[in-house]
Structures are given as C-alpha cells and as structure tokens.
C-alpha cells in the first residue's frame, strides 16, 4: 500500500505531540510545589524576661547602684534605679553623711527571680536578693518596665519580714500572670486586700480588721511608734498621727503557683507630730533632711513597699505581709 504525504504526516504529528506531552508531564511532575508558610511554633520560654535578660538587668542595676553608693551621689542614679528607690537612696546618703546609718549594700546574688508572661505594659519583675549579712533579711526588689521602649528600672525594695515565706512562683521561663487588682479567685481580691490593709494601718491595732490579716512586724512597729509618739505628745496637748495612702496605680499583682497571689503595694505614709507652743528637736540625721526651721511641728514622709501574700479562694490563708520597708524620704514642718 502506498501512503499519501498527508497520511504520512499524521503519525509524525502524533509522535511529536506525544513527546511534547511526555516532556510536559515530566516537567510538571519534576517541579515540587512552593511550600506555604507553616504555623508559627510556640515559644519554649514565653516569659517576658528570660534569665539572660534578667541577669543583664540586675547586673546593670547593681552597677549603677554601686557607683552611686561609692560616690554617695544620687545624680548617678536614674537609668536603672529610679522612682522611690532612687529617692530613698538619696535620703540615705544624706542621713549617712550626718551620722546616720550607712546605706545597706544590696547583694547582687539573687535567690529567686519572678517575671511575668504579660503582653502589655507596664510590666513588673521581682527578685529576692540574698541577705547582706546576718543582721538583715533577704530583700525583695521590684523593677518596672513602663512601656515597650523603656528599660526595666528598680523602683522599690523591701526586706522580708522575719519568718516571712514567699509562695512558690511560676518558673521564669513561663512567667507569672500579671493580674488586675479586681481579679477574683482568692480569699479576697487584691484590691480589697489593699483597701483593708490600708484601713487597718490607718485605724491601728484596735481595728476590727486586725484579725483579718496575719500578724506582721511592719504594722506592729508602726502601731508601737504611733502609741509612743502619741503618748509623748499628749501631756502637752500635742498630737501624733499617721496617714497611710496606697499608690494604687503603682501596685502590681503576680499570680503564684499555688493559686494565690503576691501583691506589691507601694504606700505613702505621712507621720505628723505636732505640739503647739513647743520647740521640737530632731536627731542630726533627720535635721539634715529638714530645709526649714523646726518649731512645734514635724512631718516625716515615708515611701514604703509592702509585699502582701493572699491565698487561693477556700485556702483559709489570711493575707500576710511577707516583706515590708519603712523608708524615710523627707522631713518638713508641714
């Protein structure tokens, strides 16, 4: 049989088409698809501050504090040490220069570090520094980061009360939940605990709230001093009183690992001693803080930190002060 040219071309076209299809098939089969972006892995350490960060923060803070302590110069503070911590230290330098106690050196060795897993600001970081010596107890230090652009700054510290026990806290890699003051789930809300404790401090030992809190040496000393000073003023028709105010905006609450919480409560305490017609006298160290002429009235201002532990609902644990310091920051005549 003889094929016409047209018929002969047909198989050739078929072969070419088949070859092209084959090549296309092979190419398509060869090219792996572009992978899509996977889900983000979860963080191994979701805490806001991992040990490398907290070590840096503590180290820089202590370096600044040591430099200021060495020079007794509060102007060297401000980068890492600020707020009430800087104010208290500046006062201590003046007191020390006028025969008062030397500022206690805060150890750089931290026994514990508590951070948050918070995604908002301000944030808090707390550490427990080992005791400077046998005469002192460990110190709870509180750093605050105001916003994302700011650095953590040491704002407050307080010595642990003798026998004070801090609760177990979440690990630093996880971070503790930073709670609002009205968070429920405790024997009482942090806000209520603050209100009640401040009311107790203002009312004195006779308050019905006295039984609502575990005994603590902070308020015991305050009440004893109040009683003694009021007694010394009374014979001359004088008065003595303490006015305690909570800095609610600067209070922080960290959830502990036992269902309870630690409340970091800054307080302003104004102690007013007034004996009309009298000429008061002060120790040299206090007098150094006074910018006016002392007469019948003297007002001491303190910036204190109280660390209050509250228990989980149903635990039966009374709110307990685990750390507190009474820090003199100024002396005035009104």
């Amino acid at each position: 049989m003889t094929l016409t040219p047209m018929r002969a071309a047909r198989p050739a076209r078929v072969v070419r088409a088949a070859a092209a299809a084959l090549a296309a098939l092979s190419l398509a089969a060869c090219m792996p698809p572009v992978p899509s972006t996977p889900d983000a892995p979860t963080l191994d350490a979701p805490g806001a501050v991992v040990p490398a960060q907290s070590d840096r923060i503590v180290s820089e803070t202590m370096r600044e504090l040591a430099a200021a302590d060495g020079a007794k110069d509060p102007s060297l503070l401000g980068e890492r040490v600020s707020g009430s911590a800087a104010t208290t230290r500046a006062t201590e330098y003046i007191v020390a220069a006028n025969g008062g106690a030397t500022p206690e050196v805060i150890s750089e060795t931290m026994l514990a570090t508590y951070t948050t897993g918070s995604a908002t600001w301000p944030r808090v970081m707390a550490t427990v520094a080992e005791a400077a010596d046998a005469a002192h107890t460990p110190v709870v230090l509180e750093w605050v980061q105001d916003d994302v652009q700011s650095e953590y700054q040491l704002r407050w510290w307080a010595h642990m009360v003798p026998g004070g026990v801090l609760p177990a806290m979440p690990g630093q890699s996880t971070g503790a939940d930073q709670l609002s003051l009205d968070t429920p789930g405790f024997t009482l809300t942090p806000e209520q605990a603050i209100e009640d404790y401040v009311a107790l401090l203002n009312a004195g030992a006779s308050s019905e709230l006295e039984e609502a809190f575990a005994p603590d040496p902070y308020r015991q000393r305050m009440f004893e001093a109040r009683t003694a000073l009021a007694a010394s003023a009374a014979p001359r028709s004088g008065t003595y009183g303490d006015t305690v105010t909570a800095r609610i905006d600067e209070a922080f609450v960290l959830a502990d690992a036992e269902g309870g919480a630690l409340v970091f409560l800054p307080l302003d305490v104004v102690s007013d001693f007034n004996v009309p017609g009298a000429q008061l006298s002060l120790p040299a160290s206090d007098k150094a803080l006074l910018q006016e002429t002392l007469k019948a009235r003297v007002v001491h201002r303190y910036e204190d930190l109280v660390v209050l532990r509250i228990g989980a609902a149903g635990s039966g644990l009374l709110p307990t002060v685990v750390a507190a310091d009474h820090n003199l920051v100024s002396v005035a005549t009104s």
Binding site: L22, A23, L25, S26, L27, A29, C30, M31, P32, V34, P35, S36, T37, P38, D39, A40, P41, T42, L43, D44, A45, P46, A48, V49, V50, A52, Q53, R56, I57, A119, Q145, V148, Q149, E151, Y152
Partner: protein
C-alpha cells in the same frame, strides 16, 4: 496474530516509561534553592513561622552597613515596631522570590540597641548568615540598620524534595516491560521455527502408518511354524 502485536506494544510502553523517567531525571530541579527578597526598610522582621520553614538551611542578610541581629518574643516585637518603617518577611512567592511586605513606609525609626526587649543582640556587617537551628523556636528575628538606611536583601536557602523520586521506579518498570516484550518476541520467534500441531499430527500419522506397514511386511516375511502337538 495477538503475539505479533503484543511484543511491540509492551516494548513501546516500556520505552515510554523509560523516557518519562529519564526526562524527569534530566530535568530535575536543584536540591537547594536560594530565594531572595528586598529589605527596603531600616528594620526587618523575620517571624517565627518563616524561621520554621521546612528545609530552611540558612537566612542570609546582605546590608550595605552595620546592623543588629536581635531576637525577641513576637508580641514584644510587634509592639516595638508598631509605628516603624519595617520590612516583614512573610514567606515564599516562588522558589526564587521571598515575599516581603513593606509596613509603615515613611514611619519612624528607633534603633535603641540596648533595650530589655531583646533576648539576643549581635552587631553584624556585610553579609551575615543565620542558622535557623541556632534560633530559639517561636522568637522573631529583628534586623535593625545602624544608620537607618535600607537593609539590603534577604536570602532564604532551602533544601527541597526534587519531586522525582518516582522516576527510577518508573524507569525500572519500563525496563521490565521491555524485557517482557523481548521475551514475548523471542518466544514467538522460537515458536515459529517449530512445526505446528497439525504438522506434527500429520507427521505422526504418516509414521504410524509406515510402521504398521513395515511390521506387516516383517510378519509376512517370517516362515510359518507348525503348531506343536500337545
């Protein structure tokens, strides 16, 4: 008749499979690929999902000047860079191109290298390569130009499955078919050399006939014996 077509058909199918497999091997893509993207902003963010890309071997950054390579929690980084002009690496557009989104063009620029936000921070210059295995899972890599100028470009080097793992089995299958076709062909050839059954039967009948005739002739040729009397 059937065998006449079966062998070529099987052989051709085998050749086709070999051809497909061969083309797939010849045209196989490279095992590693470099995808490149421009970092137009002075700050670049490489989120954890990009660092977690399957097969990501390295992240290389080429910048004209010095820059910081930092890591931090995603929530902190996105708060920190909220108003800043930032290049955000999103993933791959193709095997050659990295998808980079330019965010807040004309926005602010804050270098602040010593912030407490950063889990790690190192100063780099020129071309710098980051091994994803060295990056803590879940953190964001942040690149910050020291001068505030554009960073340059980022290269993601990935290993990939070439997608031709099937080629060798296909070639093996094709070769097997070719062998089967050849066997069929050989069998046909051998069979064509052998006599058919009819021929064998016919040959067999003739030989039987010849044998019986020969036997008969032999019997006739023998002298007849007398039967013995009992």
């Amino acid at each position: 008749m059937k065998r006449k077509w079966l062998a070529p058909l099987v052989g051709l199918a085998g050749l086709a499979l070999c051809a497909v497999g061969g083309v797939a091997i010849l045209l196989r893509p490279a095992a590693t690929v470099n995808a490149v993207g421009d970092l137009e902003a002075p700050i670049a963010v490489i989120p954890p999902e990009v660092v977690a890309f399957d097969g990501l071997l390295s992240i290389s950054v080429t910048a004209p000047g010095a820059f910081d390579v930092r890591t931090a929690r995603p929530v902190d980084v996105f708060a920190w860079a909220e108003d800043d002009h930032t290049s955000v690496v999103r993933g791959l557009v193709s095997w050659d191109d990295v998808q980079v989104d330019d965010v807040n063009a004309g926005g602010s620029y804050v270098a602040d290298g010593d912030g407490d936000l950063w889990r790690d921070s190192i100063l780099a210059t020129g071309e710098t390569t980051i091994d994803p295995a060295d990056v803590e899972p879940g953190v964001v890599i942040v690149l910050v130009s020291e001068s505030g100028s554009s960073l340059g470009d980022v290269t993601l080097t990935l290993s990939r499955d070439r997608g031709n793992g099937w080629a060798w089995p296909v070639i093996a299958g094709g070769l097997s078919l070719i062998v089967v076709g050849l066997v069929i062909l050989a069998a046909g050839l051998v069979e064509s050399q052998l006599p058919t059954t009819r021929e064998r039967e016919r040959k067999g009948h003739d030989s039987v006939k010849k044998t019986s005739e020969a036997k008969k002739a032999k019997v006739d040729a023998q002298p007849k014996r007398k039967a013995k009397k009992p």
